[in-house]
């Protein structure tokens, strides 16, 4: 091979190298352009999903507004009684302040492991006997001051004399745990 041929070969190799590099760069560029296009469509989809999540949140907020307001209204009453001891103290305070005659009383704190929202409750039985008006006013005061009390049984009967009535109640004061993880009931 003479010098001219060698020079030609070198030039041709340089040309081939330039073409090869250009091709590689062009491939990379088109791949990057495709990637950018895909990312753009992903971005548009993510934006749509975000907007959809926003709409869903607004709908959920709107649909649950009444219930959530209900919870907010009841929160102070619930937070007022956080332990069984507090419930018992509150009940005893209502009894003491009324000056009503208590025949018998029995309280017990029950655990409720199945319901994390109401993990404990104060259950009890009270038998009172006093004047008709005083006794019924006391019952009203109890239900007003401890609004979440559930009077399961209430028995009213005549007292020892005509002016008196005998009241026997069995009640349940729940101790709510608002921080509990509440699970959605399973649909059968």
């Amino acid at each position: 091979m003479n010098g001219n041929k060698a020079a030609c070969m070198i030039l041709i190799m340089i040309v081939a190298g330039i073409v090869y590099c250009s091709q590689i760069l062009a491939q990379k560029t088109s791949a990057r352009c495709l990637e950018a296009t895909n990312t753009e469509s992903d971005c548009v989809m993510a934006e749509a999903a975000s907007k959809s999540a926003g709409i869903k949140l607004e709908n959920t907020k709107f649909n649950t507004e009444d219930l959530r307001q209900f919870l907010i209204k009841w929160r102070p009453a619930i937070e007022h009684i956080r332990t069984g001891q507090e419930a018992e103290n509150q009940l005893m305070s209502i009894l003491r302040n009324s000056g009503i005659l208590t025949i018998s009383q029995k309280f017990e704190i029950k655990d409720n492991k199945a319901n994390p929202f109401i993990p404990k409750s104060l259950q009890g039985t009270l038998v009172l006997q006093d004047e008709y008006a005083k006794t019924l006013n006391w019952l009203g005061e109890l239900e007003r001051k401890i609004p979440m009390i559930r009077v399961n049984t209430c028995r009213l009967k005549q007292g020892e004399n005509g002016r008196q009535i005998n009241l026997e109640i069995r009640f349940d004061i729940p101790i709510f745990n608002l921080d509990a993880e509440v699970e959605e009931p399973k649909k059968s």
């Binding site: 040309v15 250009s22 760069l25 990057r32 219930l67 619930i78 009203g140 609004p147 028995r155």
Partner: protein, 183 residues
């Protein structure tokens, strides 16, 4: 006339290579064109590559922001759902705590003074605590008193179901199940 003799004293050189074919003059032209074209193409490709990279990064950033915003909204929605479930559980409980005192007073007031009630029992249903089983024993009472009691219960938005009256001597026993009517 004889032509002058012109001698070529240079002998042909044998150490020089043969001329390349004439088409090979295109090689340097192609070289220059390819160098210029390559520079142009590579510059434009590089600019496009850089723009595409910037676009991709920008879209990726936007996508990450949208995804983060979506995750936040979903977290908020979950919190709202949890609040709702708690409120439902609370409402379920509160539904079974309707006060009994107004009912007892309404019943007592509905009967005239000459009629006495010897016994009045309220018992909540175990399965549905909002339903209250009422049992009233009326001394010397009749259907009129029962009707008055039912009217007084209806005025408190309670509807009596499965009402029964059992007469036992002078005592009329009135049994019913009270269900609160929502308006």
């Amino acid at each position: 006339m004889q032509a002058p003799i012109c001698h070529d004293f240079k002998t042909p050189r044998t150490d020089t290579p043969k001329r390349l074919p004439s088409s090979f003059f295109l090689v340097p032209v192609i070289f220059y064109i390819s160098v210029l074209g390559g520079i142009f193409l590579n510059i434009t490709a590089y600019v496009r590559y850089r723009d595409a990279t910037m676009k991709r990064d920008s879209f990726k950033q936007q996508q990450a922001e949208h995804e983060s915003s979506k995750a936040q909204l979903e977290t908020q929605e979950k919190a709202v759902e949890k609040e709702k479930m708690k409120a439902e559980k609370l409402a379920q409980w509160i539904e079974g705590t309707r006060t009994l005192q107004p009912i007892s007073i309404a019943i007592i007031r509905s009967v005239p003074p000459e009629i006495t009630l010897s016994d009045m029992n309220f018992e909540r249903s175990l399965d549905i605590p909002a339903q209250i089983n009422l049992n009233v024993r009326i001394n010397n009472g009749g259907m009129e008193e029962v009707q008055n009691i039912q009217n007084s219960l209806q005025s408190l938005n309670y509807r009596p179901y499965n009402s029964q009256q059992i007469k036992n001597g002078e005592i009329l026993e009135f049994k019913t199940m009270l269900v609160f009517q929502q308006h």
